[in-house]
Amino acid sequence: MVLKYSKKVMEHFLHPHNVGELKNADAVGEAGNPVCGDVMKIYLKVKNDKIINIKFKTLGCAAAIAASSMLTDLAKGKTINEAEKIKNTDIITGLGTLPPIKVHCSVLGAEALHNAIKNYRKKVKK
């Protein structure tokens, strides 16, 4: 099947933002599994309840990598409460459009972020 990606998706895929790990991350969130083909890992650095740094590592297709990149752009600088409201549709809007069969990549992105936030909250409670 031929997939036509938007210019924005290709931009983020070819030159993804915030790739890598954060060694002293305050929280890490993961989504997907190798069997389905996509694994996303999000690293958060939080200060005064604000995401001051965010990085990602993704195993997956062009759409999965672009969605991860867009997600980190959206979450960076936001408070934890604001970031929690980021939905997969925000990632799609940010990327212009995603082929229907690739929408699940944006779902995974949002899931990875929400898992990271969940882990952060658990940690802060302790």
Binding site: P34, V35, C36, D38, T58, L59, A62
Partner: protein
């Protein structure tokens, strides 16, 4: 630099082939079914082409039915045979067939047929003993491809053909990947039906043929004016058919040299790519199409590899689920024992007549860079 590394998908029409085809679009536009001179000239060209094509596989001209391509030929072979022999309802095929065969078999399954889908080994090889053991009293047909389109494994079809002949069962082979590339002799190999396509051997798209051994009855799928000995109605694709025969002629002339050159390039490509850590070859090392290389890389995904290669001007393909409409990984790769994750990281590079050593070297260099880049991004990759 534009580098085409997907010759197993399709090939450009050869200059000589295009030249032979051209008059049939303009000056020689006649309908071969017309009685006047213009029509009869077209008829002569079609029949001359039939001879050339038949000769390539050691068949008789009347055993050749021109079709619209490999998919139609597979459909006509399997459904056509089933419809003409309704008392036998069992068909044997393999798990690694092209969709044109598999989906046709599944359709028959929905319509009262029983199918046996044979397993293959880790190299993609069918065991002829398995074929023999699967044969039942009501077995009508065995369909095993000559060579696999994804991993390039060449199947022991001569042995399988012999078993079928001995048991009085029809044997069909999909030879779309091998016609003009690997020698085929339908008599020596005991082949009853064979599918072939033009656009894989530098002919045009939209034309193929089905060989049906003399005396075997099939039902046509396309009814109408009774062309192709009533087996495939519709005005003949004269330019396509003439081009197909020109492509076959050219392939026959060049087969030995081309096969040698491509094998050399392929082996160099495989040797160099396997220097990438945790990279693996899919398919057999020697029982393999001379132009096919297929790998999987740990920790990365195939569609991303393809898209990055494309950015460098290199066209290639993958068996990753992410590049398929169904989000299912390649049935061929899972059949040879790859798990989903491994199949996702697959890459097929297929070379051809225009491939140069320089292109191979560039592809290797770019591929190393890309694998590295994607692995650096991957959470499952550890140095």
């Amino acid at each position: 630099m534009k580098i085409y590394m997907d010759y197993a998908a399709t090939t450009p029409v050869a200059k000589q082939v295009l030249k032979v085809m051209e008059p049939y679009f303009s000056k020689e536009f006649g309908n071969p079914n017309s009685l006047y001179d213009l029509g009869q000239k077209a008829r002569d060209s079609v029949e001359e082409s039939r001879k050339i094509v038949a000769n390539m596989i050691n068949a008789k001209p009347k055993e050749i039915i021109f079709t619209s391509g490999g998919t139609e030929s597979d459909n006509l072979a399997i459904k056509g045979l089933a419809l003409a022999n309704e008392s036998k309802k069992h068909i044997i095929t393999t798990k690694i067939e092209h969709h044109a065969v598999l989906e046709t078999c599944k359709w028959l399954e929905k319509n009262g047929y029983e199918l046996t889908y044979l397993d293959v080994d880790g190299y993609g090889l069918v065991n002829p003993d398995d074929v023999e053991m699967a044969i039942r009293k009501d077995t009508l047909l065995v369909s095993v491809m000559h060579a696999n389109n994804e991993i390039g494994t060449i199947e022991p079809i001569k042995e399988i053909g012999t078993i079928c002949r001995k048991n009085g069962i029809y044997f069909h082979t999909d030879a779309v990947q091998t016609i003009g590339k690997v020698p085929i002799d339908v008599k020596e190999m005991n082949i009853d039906l064979l599918s072939a396509s033009s656009h894989k051997i530098y002919g045009s798209k939209g034309v193929g043929f089905l060989y049906v051994r003399n005396g075997i009855k099939i039902e046509p799928l396309i009814h109408g004016g009774g062309q192709e000995n009533k087996m495939r109605s519709g005005t003949e694709n004269v330019a396509g058919i003439v081009g197909f025969s020109a492509a076959i002629k050219l392939a026959k002339k060049n087969m030995r040299v081309e096969s040698k050159t491509e094998t050399k390039l392929r082996d160099y490509l495989i040797k160099e790519v396997l220097k990438i850590p945790k990279s693996y070859l899919n398919g057999h090392k020697t029982k393999r199409l001379p132009f096919n290389a297929n790998f999987w890389f740990s920790g990365i995904e195939g569609e991303a590899i393809i898209m990055l290669l494309d950015k460098y001007g290199i066209s290639a393909s993958t068996g990753s689920a992410c590049s398929s409409g169904s989000l299912e990984p390649s049935h061929v790769l899972t059949s040879i024992g790859l798990n989903e994750e491994q199949a996702h990281g697959s890459l097929r590079l297929t070379i051809g007549r225009q491939t140069t050593f320089k292109e191979i070297k560039y592809t290797i260099k770019v591929l190393k860079k890309i694998v590295n880049k994607l692995r650096k991004m991957s959470p499952t990759w550890e140095e």
